[in-house]
């Protein structure tokens, strides 16, 4: 008895621009799984999807916005966060999700990231960290591990990468977590939590880029997933300064920080739009 069925619909099709599927991501690229987890979280969080938007920058990860069947914006390189900030401030009832890559959010867009976290803008930022600029052929990024090979570091990367959760925490984020695409259930739960939190939420997702990064570092996609299985340790509430990302020594995953504080809009209203002043101006 053959129990497989060939069908053409998928439970997430209602949230996908199916006319654009199959997507452009390479075989084994982890972006699709991170994207799929984000879509599931949007569904299960029960937020109003008619008031939810996705914003991406440029890069393979940045193609995310083009595949979701909701209002979505594919912005210029590095500018997903300032664009999202503007949208949230102009229309505070929107749920704004930023889905983009490590290069986009932390190299060209690094300053926007830290200032949005400092201001505690109410955004959910999902960063697909594949340790390089996948789209442009695999150049070194601000996240490339020390000694890793890329097109711009053929002898190995002499630089030290950013610790993204520590950076988000130090800059003022309200919610900070890290998962891999193998930990897709935890990842989904994190995105769901982050969507329901007020304030700046940051989730780093480690994902293989077999074409640009894996190939140069002798990692087949399944090897990368095995490493995610064998080298990771889940430590919730681990201080972000102590989280590790080292394929030899270990990779720390978990929810590291989750503490609500006033958002930018709360502070702005309190400082610049006190109730009595609004009443006074309306009376005139």
């Amino acid at each position: 008895m053959n129990k497989t069925k060939e069908r053409n619909e998928h439970p997430l099709d209602e949230l996908l621009r199916t006319d654009r599927i199959p997507h452009i991501w390479c075989p084994g690229c982890g972006i699709g799984t991170a994207f799929s987890a984000s879509l599931v979280a949007m569904k299960t969080s029960a937020i109003d999807l008619q008031k939810t938007v996705m914003v991406s920058g440029i890069g393979c990860s940045g193609r995310g916005a083009g595949y979701i069947k909701l209002d979505s914006y594919h912005t210029t390189h590095g500018r997903a966060i300032p664009f999202a900030t503007g949208m949230k401030l102009a229309n505070p009832e929107l749920n704004v999700v930023v889905f983009s890559g490590d290069g986009d959010l932390f190299a060209i867009g690094g300053n926007h990231f830290i200032h949005a976290a400092r201001r505690n803008i109410d955004l959910t930022v999902v960063c697909v960290n594949n340790f390089n600029y996948g789209m442009t052929g695999g150049q070194a990024a601000a996240t490339t591990p020390c000694n890793a090979r890329t097109t711009t570091t053929p002898r190995g990367n002499p630089e030290t990468p950013f610790n993204l959760p520590f950076m988000a925490f130090a800059a003022g984020a309200s919610y900070v977590a890290r998962w891999t695409i193998l930990h897709t259930r935890d990842l989904t739960k994190s995105v769901e939590e982050a969507l329901l939190r007020r304030g700046f939420s940051f989730i780093e997702v480690l994902a293989p880029c077999p074409t640009s990064y894996g190939r140069r570092n002798k990692q087949k996609p399944l090897d990368t997933l095995k490493a995610y299985q064998e080298r990771t340790v889940i430590k919730h509430a681990c201080h972000p300064a102590e989280v590790q990302l080292d394929f030899e020594r270990g990779i720390t995953l978990g929810k590291f920080f989750d503490l609500e504080r006033p958002t930018f809009l709360d502070m702005y209203d309190r400082t610049c739009r006190p109730q009595e002043r609004i009443e006074k101006s309306e009376a005139v």
Partner: protein
């Protein structure tokens, strides 16, 4: 299912059964669903889809427990599971 110690209420526990659906034309043959299915339900199909990839096929249909892991690890929206009873309707 094989247990190293049979739970006392083993006869009362009903294991959920699932049916896997494969959208073969979307598959890019990464093999994640096959490698990480906890019940070893899937295998590589010898056939090609239109893009030249080998999609998975079901090897041990009766073992599927509808855990959805193949569905959520797939980067290509190409596989999903449904509960066996629900699927009959």
């Amino acid at each position: 299912m094989k247990y190293w110690r049979v739970p006392l209420d083993a006869d009362q526990i009903e294991v959920t059964r699932g049916i896997v659906h494969i959208v073969a034309e979307r598959c890019k043959g990464c093999g994640y669903c096959i490698a990480f299915c906890p019940r070893d339900v899937l295998e590589v199909s010898p056939r090609y889809n239109a893009k030249g990839y080998h999609p998975p096929q079901v090897k041990r249909a009766d073992e599927c427990v509808n855990c959805h892991y193949c569905e959520i690890i797939c980067p290509d929206f190409a596989i999903y599971s449904v509960e066996a009873s629900a699927d009959l309707v």
